[in-house]
């Protein structure tokens, strides 16, 4: 089942750790979000394959924006 990863809060994407098609383990960082003076690695909720990455470094995101889809 596909899981959408969403931004927990408003901020800026500073790093994308994966690319489409790559395998990620549960709790492995997918992107890093900078917000509120902190760098937050956002981790995969499941073991799976990256189906979509919808952001790139430097991009600003709002809370609940979909960042990536893991399947």
């Amino acid at each position: 089942m596909a899981e959408e990863m969403t931004a927990p809060m408003i901020g800026k994407i500073i790093k994308v750790h994966v690319s489409v098609g790559s395998h990620v383990d549960e709790d492995e960082p997918v992107v890093t979000l900078e917000a509120m003076k902190t760098e937050m690695p956002l981790v995969s909720p499941i073991n799976g394959v990256v189906k979509e990455v919808r952001v790139q470094p430097g991009q600003l995101v709002e809370a609940d924006d979909v960042l990536a889809v893991i399947e």
């Binding site: 809060m9 408003i10 900078e34 917000a35 509120m36 003076k37 902190t38 760098e39 937050m40």
Partner: protein, 499 residues
């Protein structure tokens, strides 16, 4: 004593639930439960109910000892016409709360009911109201704990909501003000019970529930554990217990747990586990507003309430949800004489249009209000960030902290260097041949001058700058000297908290 009979009991067991009386047997010390109103007769006069036998009117009421301490209980019996709330059923429940208040003992409400007994009409509705009235009048006098061990539907859902804590059992429990059939008929939404008001919804999204538990026995065990941290009433102190953990124990690995780089994250649970007795922490609302952690623990045997930012989630920023969670917990602790330990690592209140529209000003003020109002001992440790309103809202000395300690990694300030330098040296940076170099230089200058712990300690905002390994011994000493603290609010009817 058999409730609704063998067939109904079998059905109750098949759905993974214990019966009302089995729950009572499991909860109380053997032989201590004393029932009242077993012979209370239902008051239904219509639709053939007048001829029906309704054992105990679907609820078992009484008192007994839990780990030696007297406690009142009402336990709804789903095997007796679905535990529906009729007039006598309601009167029995109200009497239980009345007695608990008069005797100064906690009350546990075990909810397992199909809702109002429709055939009794006003008899049920009015008794709901009388129960709500009693929950409110008892609030802050005795602990009131609601266990949701089956359905709680309709108006009855407000009974647990008016109590202090709500535990929900996985799979078998749900709470809503209107069930799926009514929701479909009135607002045309098709949804099942679990998604409308199951434990997951209430533990993670609505925040109605405080804890999800695996099954009936786990629910009752968890209740006993919670009670071990609570006084019987507001005139007592919470129970002291010898824990065998040395007050002088150092946490050697604390330096590795709290990263010096303020941009790096860590889980504050690791800090809590190392400073409380034997690492035992009873967390409340662990799945809701996870950017802030609250719960009970002991320090050198004394019960404390812990309020901690969790940098791991949303950088530990204070948002609407966590402000409500914190304020409610702080007010419970204050009502029942539980000292507060506040662990700060907070970048600020969450800013931005979303947060403003949610009313962060209105809801964030609840934390300020709750801390300022609290007269119990308040001990604060600044682990790392303590910025702006977040620093005040996590209980600075200005909000009444009795003692405040800061780690060398602490950063107490009105505004971070980046923001401040942009305002103070905007022209200078713009005019510089090397703007980024000038900016970095001004940042460092500002940091060394104002963010450095010696600055706030020099102005008495901080009592001491401490070694991270010594958080526990430092807090235990401060707690023990504060146990007989005297503080009182000015006489008033009550304060107008921003609810």
């Amino acid at each position: 004593m058999k409730g609704g009979g063998a067939k109904a009991v079998e059905k109750q067991h098949a759905s993974g639930k214990l019966t009302a009386r089995e729950r009572i047997d499991y909860l109380f010390d053997p032989g201590t439960f004393t029932e009242f109103d077993l012979f209370a007769k239902h008051l239904g006069r219509d639709y053939g109910l007048d001829k029906a036998e309704v054992p105990a009117d679907g609820v078992v009421t009484g008192y007994g000892k839990i780990n030696g301490r007297e406690t009142f209980v009402y336990s709804e019996d789903f095997t007796v016409i679905a535990g529906t709330f009729g007039e006598m059923h309601g009167r029995k429940v109200c009497k239980t709360v009345d007695l608990a208040l008069k005797m100064g003992k906690p009350v546990i409400g075990i909810n397992d009911s199909g809702g109002a007994r429709v055939t009794e009409e006003m008899g049920a509705l009015s008794t709901y109201g009388q129960l709500f009235f009693r929950h409110v009048r008892s609030s802050g006098c005795i602990p009131q704990i609601a266990l949701i061990m089956g359905p709680v539907a309709g108006g009855q859902a407000y009974s647990p909501a008016l109590m202090d804590f709500i535990f929900m059992v996985e799979k078998s429990s749900y709470m809503f003000i209107a069930g799926p059939p009514l929701v479909k008929a009135v607002v045309f939404e098709e949804i099942d019970e679990a998604n409308l008001g199951g434990p997951k919804i209430h533990a993670t999204i609505s925040g109605v529930s405080d804890l999800t538990v695996r099954d009936d026995r786990a629910c009752l065990d968890t209740t006993k554990e919670l009670l071990s941290y609570l006084p019987l009433n507001c005139n007592e102190k919470p129970p002291y217990v010898e824990t065998g953990d040395s007050p002088d124990r150092l946490a050697e690995d604390m330096i590795d747990i709290i990263p010096a780089d303020p941009k790096k994250l860590y889980d504050v649970h690791k800090v809590i586990k190392r400073i409380v007795d034997n690492g035992q922490f009873f967390e409340i609302k662990p799945e809701y507003a996870r950017n802030l952690v609250v719960g009970f623990a002991r320090m050198n045997g004394h019960v404390v309430g812990i309020v901690a930012n969790n940098p791991l989630v949303m950088a530990g920023a204070l948002d609407v949800k966590c402000s409500q969670k914190a304020a409610r917990f702080i007010r419970f602790c204050n009502a029942f004489n539980v000292p507060l330990i506040n662990l700060q690592d907070v970048p600020a209140f969450l800013i931005g249009s979303k947060s403003e529209r949610e009313g962060i000003i209105r809801h964030g003020s609840k934390m300020l209000y709750a801390y300022a109002e609290a007269t119990v001992p308040k001990l604060t440790v600044v682990l790392r960030k303590a910025y702006a309103g977040g620093y005040l809202a996590m209980c600075s000395k200005d909000l009444g902290a009795d003692f405040l300690f800061e780690l060398p990694t602490g950063e107490i300030c009105l505004m971070g260097p980046e923001g401040a330098v942009n305002i103070l040296f905007r022209k200078e940076i713009a005019a510089s041949d090397d703007p980024e170099g000038t900016r970095a230089e001004k940042n460092k200058e500002f940091f060394d001058k104002f963010v450095n712990p010696t600055y706030s300690a020099g102005l008495q905002h901080v009592d001491d700058i401490i070694d991270p390994r010594r958080i526990r011994p430092t807090l235990v000493r401060a707690l023990e000297v504060s146990l007989n603290k005297f503080d009182q609010l000015p006489p008033k009817k009550y304060g107008n908290m921003p609810i």
